[in-house]
């Protein structure tokens, strides 16, 4: 079982960099990639979700549909953006515009940066669980290239709902985890103060995820972290995104969707390869008898 390479930073230092208040946020990248980005709004049901910015823009001669979970730079912005914690309407807006991208053949870029979906009563009343589930299922039916990048925090299902892509990248000092370290600590220890140990055990850094085969590439950040040089961080991310998107533009839709399916179908192959895991998938139809009608 491959070990995490020795990082020069502790896991918790990485967590703190991923959450650094000066770190570039989604719009800092999107506006650099597509200065003519047009933010569109609304789930066409009952709300708009400011925690997710979404809309088309011009990038490298293409019209691309951009999505970004957007944090706020100051308190007012953070409140307005709800700390990038999405409500159901955000996932519904995303699916509406992903289908629009499919209608026009626009490739999709999604930037992930959220502590998680919003843990509030209104989100529950409006079906946050199903909204995330429909988004995760919906992405598998969007016949245009989708490239996602975790640029800061990739928190739980709230992040995954915007990261079902053909390629998933991570900035060097970003994290992606099944639950925030605090949440995991309160689940496992019943004490969120144990977040540092939790983060270490959860293995949340970009290198961890690359080692586990969950992300295709770790995008290096400027010395000391992306917050030290937004411009350089954006250049690196832009180049990496294009490197992954460009070949996808040539794939027929059917292949694209088949690859996306298999990317997640076998994403845990590291574990499935373990000798004690058990038998691999059997030839289909083996269990067919009851179904022959």
């Amino acid at each position: 079982m491959p070990k995490r390479p020795r990082d020069t930073l502790s896991v918790w230092q990485v967590v703190e960099l991923a959450r650094h208040p000066e770190r570039p946020y989604a719009l800092d990248y999107i506006r650099r990639m597509a200065p003519d980005f047009v933010e569109l709004h609304g789930d066409r049901v009952s709300h708009d979700d400011p925690a997710l910015v979404a809309g088309p823009g011009s990038w490298r001669g293409l019209t691309v549909m951009f999505f970004g979970q957007q944090k706020g730079r100051n308190l007012a912005e953070r409140v307005a953006r709800n700390w990038a914690m999405m409500h159901p309407e955000g996932y519904r807006k995303a699916m509406r515009l992903a289908r629009q991208a499919a209608k026009f053949g626009f490739p999709i870029v999604s930037l992930v940066d959220t502590p998680g979906a919003f843990p509030g009563a209104g989100a529950e009343e409006r079906g946050i669980a199903l909204a995330i589930g429909q988004a995760i299922m919906g992405w598998f039916e969007i016949p245009v290239p989708v490239v996602a990048a975790v640029i800061g925090e990739g928190g739980s299902g709230g992040a995954l709902g915007m990261a079902v892509a053909d390629r998933v990248l991570m900035l060097e000092n970003s994290i992606y985890s099944v639950a925030s370290p605090e949440a995991a600590a309160s689940i496992v220890w019943r004490d969120s103060a144990r977040k540092v140990e939790a983060a270490a055990q959860l293995q949340v850094t970009s290198r961890d995820l690359q080692a586990m085969g969950v992300v295709e590439e770790v995008v290096p950040e400027p010395e000391g972290g992306a917050h030290r040089d937004h411009e350089a961080a954006a250049c690196a991310l832009e180049a990496a995104l294009w490197r992954h998107l460009e070949p996808l533009l040539r794939l027929p839709a059917s292949e694209l969707l088949q690859h996306r399916y298999e990317r997640f179908r076998y994403i845990d192959s590291l574990v499935q390869a373990a000798p004690d895991f058990g038998p691999k998938v059997e030839p289909r139809g083996a269990a067919g008898n009851p179904a022959e009608r």
């Binding site: 589930g133 994403i267 289909r284 067919g288 009851p290």
Partner: protein
């Protein structure tokens, strides 16, 4: 059984009462409190067992996977699949308790992961059946659970067999880290293909169903059924109160709440569940239907 909807009505649905009655016979015993938490009445385990562990007051006691399989699968029809897939401690999780220890103990108690899948017949109708077991690390979604669900969904799609899910889960399994989260995508890809193949999918959500399970496959069925009083949601009430300091109304996230909020189609008492499911499967698999 004390069905609110009785055999004569099943018959009017075209569901044979005898086939409904022919369940896996008596349910296995369940660990019970001495009194009903809802009405306080002293419990008589044998009597309760005859009533699918539903108190006269309507309180539905949690059942484990063996009981669910006995209730839903016709006697002798259950063929479990992929029971030999085993969890693996990829992260070498140590504190506060080693994951391997957790797994070993559960295995020692005769539990085989949080999800078990297989084929069966329900009132004579072929189904793929997936059952969560809350006893195994809180029914948490793990790689083995995800793999069993995905393989069974793929098989149901390939053989056009109706898919029946029995959900009970506290969320994703922390000790398997990001790969536990990834199961949500793996599973939902397969759910999408099940729908594309036009195969009927029915989900039964029981108490409790939270986190990654309702946010992946559990609410994506053609017909979402919840048990009366079951707590269903994404984030648990404790965390919601902590993070928003909001008072939650009584009944928040209950099955009835989710019915009002448009998330589930039906709230069905356990005593009617077999008959209801038999009827729905018949409706959704009727041959010689109009074209799609």
């Amino acid at each position: 059984m004390r069905p609110e909807v009785g055999p004569e009505e099943w018959a009017s649905w075209g569901v044979s009462p005898s086939s409904v009655a022919a369940s896996g016979g008596r349910l296995p015993p369940i660990a019970l409190t001495t009194n009903c938490p809802s009405c306080g009445v002293g419990l008589v385990p044998e009597a309760l067992r005859e009533r699918c562990y539903v108190c006269d007051c309507g309180h539905h006691f949690r059942m484990h996977a063996d009981a669910w399989i006995a209730l839903l699968a016709d006697a002798g029809s259950w063929q479990e699949r992929w029971a030999d897939i085993r969890p693996h401690d990829l992260l070498e999780w140590k504190v506060p308790r080693a994951y391997q220890e957790t797994l070993d103990q559960a295995r020692a108690e005769g539990l085989n992961e949080a999800v078990r899948v297989g084929t069966a017949t329900l009132a004579g109708l072929a189904v793929w059946l997936a059952v969560f077991d809350f006893r195994f690390v809180g029914g948490s979604l793990s790689i083995v659970a995800g793999e069993r669900l995905t393989r069974s969904l793929e098989q149901a799609a390939a053989t056009r067999t109706p898919y029946l899910l029995l959900a009970a889960s506290g969320g994703a399994r922390m000790q398997e880290g990001i790969l536990a989260l990834m199961q949500m995508a793996k599973i939902n890809g397969a759910v999408g293909r099940l729908h594309q193949m036009g195969v009927p999918y029915f989900a039964v959500l029981t108490d409790p169903t939270y986190g990654g399970v309702p946010a992946s496959l559990a609410l994506l069925a053609d017909v979402n059924i919840a048990e009366p009083g079951a707590a269903i949601g994404f984030t648990g009430p404790r965390v919601i109160k902590q993070s928003t300091h909001a008072d939650l109304p009584p009944g928040f996230q209950s099955a009835e709440f989710q019915l009002r909020c448009g998330q589930v189609d039906l709230v069905v008492p356990r005593t009617e569940l077999r008959a209801r499911l038999a009827h729905l499967i018949q409706l959704y698999t009727r041959p010689g239907r109009g074209r799609g």
